[in-house]
Amino acid sequence: MRRPKLAAALSFGAASLSGLIGLLAALLFLGNGPSAPPWRGELIPTLIPYIKFSARLDGLGAFFLMLVSLLGCAISIYSLDYSKGYFGRKNAGVLGAFYNALLLVATVLVVANTIWLFLIAWELMALTAYCLISFEHEQPETRQAGVLFFIMSHIDAGCIILGFLLLFQASGDFSFDSLRDVGAKMSPGKRDAAFVLFLLGFGIKAGVVPLHIWLPAAHPVAPSNISAIMSGMVIKTGIYGLTRVCFEFLGPPPLWWGVTVLAVGTVSAVLGVLYALMEHDLKRLLAYHSIENIGIIMMGLGAALLFQFFGHPILAAFSLVAGMYHTINHAAFKGLLFLGAGAVVHSTHTRNMEEMGGLARRMPETAFYFLIGAVAISALPPLNGFVSEWLTYQALLQGFGASDSLWRLAFPLSGAMLALTGALAAACFVKAFGITFLAQPRSDAARNAHEAAPSMRIGMALLTAACLLLGFFPTTFVRLLDPLTQQLTGQQISAQLSLNSGLVLASLSEKAGTVSTVGMVLMGLCLLPIPFALWLVLARKAKTRRAPTWDCGQRGLTPQMEYTATGFSKPIRMIFKALFRPRRETQREYDFSPYFATNIRFESHIEEVFVQRLYRPLRISIVRVSRKIRALQAGSIHAYLLYIFITLLLLLIFAL
């Protein structure tokens, strides 16, 4: 469209409205409670008999519809002003168009009720996401990331297609209704094959280690509102698919499914956060945290699968609640963080944290939202991240008593890993927030940074509100999960989770453990008078003045002397040296004495072990093989004739 303003306003305005409507619809459905029948409908009539585009909104679908719409609404509002950055430079209309397409497709995906509709939506999602990622395709880095993403997601589509076809083979019909519990009809071998395929396929999309490589490449280079969508919504569709398939289609899980999912989740969580710590590219850091959080969600799912196997539907429902709760939480705070990062990048024109700093005073509101997001994602009370991780812990701990098999050790061990993850995440976000927003600006860009535009702030504020509400009122929220758990495990547990008229969240029973985030807030408010009382009583006469930083008497403090992101994570890099294998090179030039170097150049570089050991060799060998095969077509007509001749002779000899 020729008029970017109009285009942007139109597309993103419409998108936010549709998000709102979707949200209302989802809440309306979930509000009806678990007994309400699913909503059905035909989207488009098709003329090929075996292809149906029928939709069905059930508990699971509605939950994810809520997620998609919530995020879509907030981010669309944010984009109204964010897209202004492209006016004159790029075609904002294109951005808006693909953005809306992506939202639409994601919505269709969660309500799809036939294999055809699901797969088409799945592929279209990859396509639109690809177009959005490579929106700023002038940078080669962006192009490569886009291609990597698209290739990976095509591979995952392949796995998913195979998986669904295995189910289809057993059921003989393409509609999801015929697939429910089709696993019972399948031979165990095929079931396991299907499970593995689905785990691979949805795992790639969700970005679990070691299938995650596209994620830290693709999220940073996309426009920030798209990054938010990608990591808040798109990777969640992987979780959606896995949940739908494992709990509805494949039937009762064997032991190793749960163990696998739990293990995959644990590994993803730990490695994700460790790699995140090593990043000083703000958006890459957030991308790695998506991997971590997906891992935490997978822990919940894995625990649920294990409980299904051990025959504890209630506990299964409980861990499902934990997983789903973390899913929507991650959507909220990761969306928020990416939007914040977007605002920062938008005003400093760099993603490198080493060039930021001091932004808390230049863009205080953004800083505040980002801080909320950081506290939430670090699983610190009283925000939503803490609640969902608390639920996960509780589920894992109760798992210990759930059976007598040796495998129950898996629960507390992954719980310990979860603890490690949480602590590292806190460290990482101290770094992310501290280096980005605090201290002195490290570059002119940061020095001249400005507060984000109003609609961007509104968008962030919405997600902040979501984080706070989800954090303070878990008991009301888990009631919305009843339809989901009812559908997948046949249990409703929201009643057992809420105590004292919803003030306190209990893990199934009061004895097993309770927590109340809102209670903590109240406690804090009640205790707040103490420091003020002390101040009033003792220190009213004390004066306060601003002065240069003391720093043990160090004079003339410059930004160069501040702690850098790399420096901040140095100790952890040292501790996990074995994993990171940092490549570092130092060049120092000095005139007379090695102690007085005139010029030091230090380089430290960390590359993911999977890229080093797995993906690059794979790519290289594929190319090499193809070049070898290419020699068949070397241009000599006699060779070509020979091929035909040999074919003919072979056929004559063998066919007769």
Binding site: R630, Q633, A634, G635, S636, I637, H638, L641, L642, F645, L648, L649, L652, I653, L656
Partner: protein, 222 residues
Amino acid sequence: MTPSVIPTASNLITLLASAMLVLQLLLAVQSMLITNIRLFALQSLLLAAIAGVVGYAYGAWHVLVLAVLTILGKVIFLPWRLEQLVRQIKIEQEIRPFVNMSASMLICGALTVLAHVVARPITSLERLGSNTLAVAIALVLTGFFLMINRRKAVTQVLAILTMENGVMLAAIALTTYGMPLVVEIGILFDVVVAVMVLGILVFRIRETFSSMDVSKLNELKW
């Protein structure tokens, strides 16, 4: 109802067919271009003769027509056209094949054996001359081998024409009355046109590449 088989005719056909095969083998070892062309002409003549025998013996007039057309087309016109081509663009006479004579002889022998093996189980066609099918297959395969083994464009054309002879042998001698006339005429016509087209191409190649060696045509790769 199929007509009664006339023994002399079938013996004659067998004889002529095997003669064609012998000529084919000679082609394989003959190194002079012009001689190659003449050998091909001779082979086509034998083919025409077979057609004549079939037509005469079974009173199938249209096979006679085919015989005449073969003589006109393959015995007179095509060889003349090819020799003219050779003279016009002064190709040197020597053919330098990839595989030397003795080896190619062996290979052709092997191919003939294979042809017989392949044709053995098929007995329903032994009415007009025995082993004609085997000979036809042998002609096709050896012609194919010649094509691979020749460097020059013209010689490849020649090879494909000998293959075509084998095919026509099958067309005439395997089926009691040959094929429907339309088809036969069409096939012959097509062959002639094909050679014309090839001639044009050979010309253009000659003038652009200033060589007739098709093994030099290898710019298009991968």
